[in-house]
């Protein structure tokens, strides 16, 4: 969390349904503030020096032997390099299994009439293009503030979020990281209360 000793490097809003990105230098802390509550912040993380080194949901959950991300979770790359560590979390449970919504997956989940709605993969592609990333670089992601429980019989689904207005989480960069965000445009599931809202992104240096 931000303290009076920290210097604010960046303080921006990621608008509802918009994409956003920045490079967080090693040691700096990115705090994501869920301004209105229940927003889903779809996030991809890459080594800023080598985009081939990128976040792996499966490597991360296998290493920590737990499906959910919270304080202490280390975000691992696909070659097991620590990218970022969650150092503070006011929610307690973030998803990394559900992936990002896409126009194509939305046709399966909600019907073909949703094909031309906003979708996170579209945001990732347009934002990633600014950094030279293409479709092959669109990998597994994190959904901060999104709640995806798994029942005993394996049934899983996106349910009402655990976040609330003003709740935040903070990530310390272990190496220089490129962070790509789609502030989830999804309006067909409860991840953001069927009402996408802005989030605040603050980078601090101590």
């Amino acid at each position: 969390m931000t303290t009076t000793l920290d210097t604010i490097i960046l303080d921006q809003c990621a608008d509802a349904r918009a994409s956003w990105s920045t490079v967080v230098a090693a040691g700096d802390v990115l705090t994501i503030i869920d301004l209105h509550g229940n927003q889903a912040v779809d996030t991809l993380v890459y080594s800023a020096q080598d985009h081939a080194v990128r976040y792996s949901a499966s490597a991360t959950i296998a290493a920590q032997r737990n499906l959910f991300l919270t304080t202490g979770s280390i975000l691992l790359s696909d070659d097991s390099t620590p990218l970022m560590t969650i150092v503070a979390d006011e929610v307690g449970n973030h998803d990394t299994v559900g992936g990002a919504c896409s126009q194509e997956s939305n046709t399966l989940r909600y019907g073909h009439h949703t094909k031309h709605q906003h979708a996170c993969v579209e945001n990732f592609l347009i934002e990633g293009a600014k950094w030279g990333l293409g479709k092959r670089d669109m990998v597994s992601n994190i959904n901060f503030f999104m709640n995806v429980p798994v029942d005993a019989d394996g049934t899983l689904g996106i349910v009402d979020g655990l976040s609330a207005p003003g709740k935040s989480l903070s990530l310390r960069a272990e190496i220089d990281t490129l962070v790509l965000v789609s502030n989830c445009p999804q309006i067909n599931n409860p991840c953001n209360g069927f009402d996408p809202t802005p989030v605040r992104m603050v980078v601090t240096r101590s």
């Binding site: 296998a62 449970n93 896409s102 997956s105 899983l156």
Partner: protein, 264 residues
């Protein structure tokens, strides 16, 4: 045998060839279109036509078939593990479960399963993780990591490490316990099989290597049989009536009929 001359060296090399026993074809199948036995810690790769039935068999009870699928004609479309569990509302793989691409299409459907021990959550191992667990994860070590094996298999299909998303694995089960913790449920034992029906031409990368949550401290992965044959008629009788699956099949058939069919 002398190898002092080119002729002698040729004869020496040729004398090394021996006939090998491939996997046994299933009853009622006249002709296998692909057959391989993959030892523990090794990989295989193949291109399969639409309508192929792919059978994986855990020969000795400790195989772990980590797989990735790519559309053969458009390899930037590939298996998406997240959609594969999210869209069917089900984390555990079984009969009727689609393996979905990132473009809303079915690459394969699970059509038979005598194992029930599979995982779509943990992906595969890295050189670092295997080095920490077994002492090495290098390609030709005694404990090769899945990502090292996938890297080579991918390269043989013109694909790079950045083309390797999270994989899924057959024959080593994982269950999610309370609060999200993960537990290995091991394998189903020798002889377990899983069959996939292929919906679009695909490149298959297959690494037979220990699951990330394998509780054994030693690398014990055993052989995997891989068999494939034509079963095109089965595409007309699919084992899943869920609406999400039906829409995925619709997307897939639409793609096949609108263009790919003519290029077969």
């Amino acid at each position: 045998m002398s190898t002092a001359t080119t002729q002698a060296a040729k004869e020496h090399a040729r004398s090394q060839a021996i006939a090998i026993d491939g996997p046994t074809p299933p009853d009622g199948v006249d002709r296998l279109t692909f057959a391989d036995t993959v030892p523990g810690g090794r990989y295989t790769t193949m291109v399969l036509s639409r309508g192929t039935r792919l059978r994986l068999r855990d020969v000795d009870g400790n195989a772990c078939a980590n797989i990735l699928l790519y559309r053969a004609d458009a390899p930037w479309e590939r298996l998406n593990a997240a959609d594969t569990v999210k869209v069917p509302w089900q984390a555990y793989l079984g009969v009727g479960h689609p393996l979905l691409s990132d473009q809303g299409r079915v690459l394969a459907t699970v059509v038979a399963d005598s194992s029930g021990h599979h995982d779509a959550l943990c992906g595969t191992t890295s050189a670092k993780s295997n080095a920490a667990k077994y002492g090495s994860g290098a390609l030709h070590s005694t404990s090769p990591a899945g990502r090292e094996l996938f890297t080579v298999a991918a390269a043989k299909n013109g694909l790079e490490p950045r083309d390797l998303p999270p994989s899924i694995s057959f024959f080593h089960g994982v269950r999610v316990e309370s609060e999200g913790s993960l537990m290995s449920t091991g394998t189903a034992g020798a002889g377990a099989e899983i069959d996939l029906l292929i919906h679009l031409p695909v490149v298959v990368l297959l690494a037979n290597t220990a699951h990330p949550l394998d509780p054994s401290r030693t690398f014990d992965t055993t052989a995997l049989d891989v068999l494939a044959w034509d079963a095109t008629e089965e595409l007309a009788d699919l084992p899943n009536t869920e609406p999400e699956y039906q829409r995925a099949v619709w997307n897939t058939e639409s793609t096949w009929n609108s263009g790919l069919k003519g290029t077969r």
